[in-house]
């Protein structure tokens, strides 16, 4: 039994951005367990003021290189509400297709490059390049099909080019869509191999039920659209998101934490899996069964497994979306609707790979930004992550300090934190 331990992991590795783990046990009692954000702040909400609406959406994707399409789409949706723009059903379909590309690339980056080394007992994927080259090549193929799918729709994944307020700036070619469809069919084999790899993985034994928050859509597994939904039974339209996301100051952190019905909630792949399991593609549900994931799942280490299940969903749904897009034909006249600047305010929400993401903008009559607000998934997860840490540390206190440290790093990595995004999460509510 470890009665005294002080753990300080400076700049946790294999996560996006800079964060520190701090934990302290004294006389067998947990004194503190927290995840501190030490990323340089960037002030998007400040410097977007004065920018033209089209430039706002250009710069907004630069909040994050991994979830660039999510930030772009959240900004587009908020701006389209503010400017009273209604996009065509064709644009809606194409944006949903693009999302599958982003979710695939982001999840597979996390599953293989950031999280998997822990399960394989390695410090990174680098030793695998010589030791298991086929696995590394598979990981790269999988991740890149996500990038390429997003690029097919938006010109580039990081950063998307052709997604604009009101639609797209070029006309997609059905031939390219069908070529991508073939690749998606072929990639099933790599996904199956990934599922079998994860079937051999034993997750740390830990459960802590919490409130799960995600979008919820009546007709489909929600990524691009839906209402704000809590597993505690509440549902709100996106424009009322401030009633759901209450940010509050906690004494031990410079970052504000988010709460809704409970002191903390979880967003991201596991929250979506728990809230919207019934809408997953049957192939993804079959994989969930194969991996022993029976909702609701309360083990945060299973976030990575939920991501893999979502990857199966995204590939299958992308194939169906391509069939729908090609089947109905791509009408150049529907690619872009007219946009006229006007004064207005709007909120947009999407499910970024790491969870529900809100953008809110206010524009003047010339379409210049007056104010901006971003609520980032990683910021919303912080309180929940720390609550997990506080419950998990006593659970593993019998282990060596090195082992406790490693398990805490694994827990942080399981959340797939995106710290570049979250570094500007603390902000003044203006509404």
């Amino acid at each position: 039994m470890t009665t005294d331990a002080r753990i300080h992991v400076h700049h946790v590795t294999r996560v996006e951005g800079h964060g520190d783990i701090i934990a302290e046990i004294a006389d067998g009692v947990l004194k503190q367990a927290r995840f501190a954000i030490v990323e340089a702040p960037r002030f998007f909400e400040g410097f977007l003021r004065g920018q033209l609406y089209s430039d706002v959406t250009h710069v907004a994707s630069r909040i994050c290189g991994i979830c660039a399409c999510s930030h772009k789409c959240a900004a587009l949706k908020a701006t389209e509400v503010a400017l009273d723009v209604t996009i065509s059903p064709q644009t809606d379909l194409l944006r949903r297709l693009c999302f599958h590309g982003e979710v695939l690339s982001s999840h597979l980056l996390h599953i293989y490059f950031l999280a998997a080394p822990d399960f394989l007992g390695l410090p990174s994927v680098m030793p695998l390049i010589a030791g298991a080259p086929d696995l590394v090549k598979r990981a790269m193929r999988l991740k890149n099909i996500g990038y390429d799918l997003a690029a097919l729709v938006a010109g580039r994944h990081t950063h998307p080019i052709a997604m604009a307020v009101g639609g797209f700036t070029f006309v997609h070619d059905p031939k390219d869509m069908l070529a991508m469809r073939e690749r998606l069919v072929d990639i099933r084999e790599d996904l199956t191999a990934s599922v079998e790899l994860f079937a051999t993985v034993e997750l740390p034994d830990f459960e802590r039920p919490t409130e799960y928050v995600s979008l919820k859509h009546p007709d489909r597994y929600a990524f691009y659209d839906g209402d704000v939904f809590s597993s505690d039974g509440h549902r709100l339209p996106v424009r009322r998101y401030r009633e759901a996301v209450t940010e509050h100051v906690v004494p031990h952190s410079t970052a504000k934490h988010a709460r809704w019905n409970r002191p903390e909630y979880m967003v991201g792949a596991l929250a979506r899996f728990n809230n919207n399991y019934e809408q997953l593609h049957p192939a993804a549900q079959a994989v969930a069964e194969r991996l022993g994931m029976d909702p609701p799942v309360h083990n945060p280490f299973a976030i990575t497994v939920a991501q893999l299940i979502e990857c199966v969903h995204c590939v299958e749904d992308a194939i169906e979306l391509i069939d729908e897009v090609v089947g109905r034909g791509i009408d150049p006249a529907q690619q872009q609707v007219e946009v006229r600047p006007r004064a207005g305010q709007g909120v947009g929400a999407v499910e970024a790979p790491r969870g529900i993401l809100f953008h809110e903008y206010e524009y003047d009559e010339d379409g210049r930004c007056l104010s901006a607000n971003h609520v980032i998934p990683t910021a919303q997860n912080l309180a929940n992550l720390e609550a997990d840490m506080r419950e998990f540390v006593p659970h593993i206190a019998g282990e060596s300090t090195d082992r406790i440290t490693h398990l805490l790093e694994m827990l942080v990595r399981a959340y797939d934190p995106c710290i570049s995004c979250s570094a500007h999460m603390v902000r003044l509510p203006h509404g």
């Binding site: 960037r42 400040g46 410097f47 710069v59 630069r62 790269m140 080019i161 797209f168 410079t254």
Partner: protein, 275 residues
Amino acid sequence: MEGPTKRFGNKPQIAFFDFACCEGCQLSVLQLEERLLDILELVDVVTWREAMSEYSNDYDIAFCEGSITREQDIERVREIREQAAILVTLGSCASGGCHNDLKNQWEMDEMLALVYGDQAEHFDTIPSRPITAVVEVDYKIYGCPVSLAEFVTVVKRILTGQSYEPPNQPVCVECKLNDHLCVLEKGEVCLGPVTRGGCDAICTGFGDACQGCRGLMDAANVGAMLKALTREQAHAIVRKVVERYGFTQDDIETKLRIYNNWPELNLEEIAANDD
């Protein structure tokens, strides 16, 4: 830029570092797939926090992305400069300037109070600047994000001891060579005429305007652009065109500022020497 002469006997040791940014440039490198594996046969990556738990302070070549926005980051990038035989900046944030520098239009205290409110005292921020404004840099790769083709070219040059001069022709040249439709003709402000090329005009190829992400090219004639495109300054010969589009100096200045606000953009000063 003077080419570094260092040649590497054994495999050179590589490190990746990130400062304030989206980390999209280092992620783009992962998209190289098989080509990345080829590169990894020629070098040893010893430090890459985002992808590896292994760590070493003994490296020859440092790839750095992001803007410098805190005092502590000035120290950190100087230490990296001290250690690395070769320092490469990855992307516009590090190489010349980017949207992070937009915050320099306001007092730092005002920005802190606006975004962090009563927690502002916990944060340290200084006007944002590229790494090139803080230390000497051996190779610069512009772009938001970097182009993968250019990244590979630069890596080859480094490993063979050659220098690299970033492209210095306007995006318009590459746009015309690709037969893309002129975005100005669609009535939108496009910064192609004054922006450094090397991107193969990817954005105009997808119908979007050039946002100027690689910064002004060395000989950018901003004054001429204002005279060709703005209501305020248009020459008589282009007045009809300008009336049709109705661009104002402010339209162009706002867009230019996004990637050209280090040092703080002064349009009149830049344009004064041009024609």
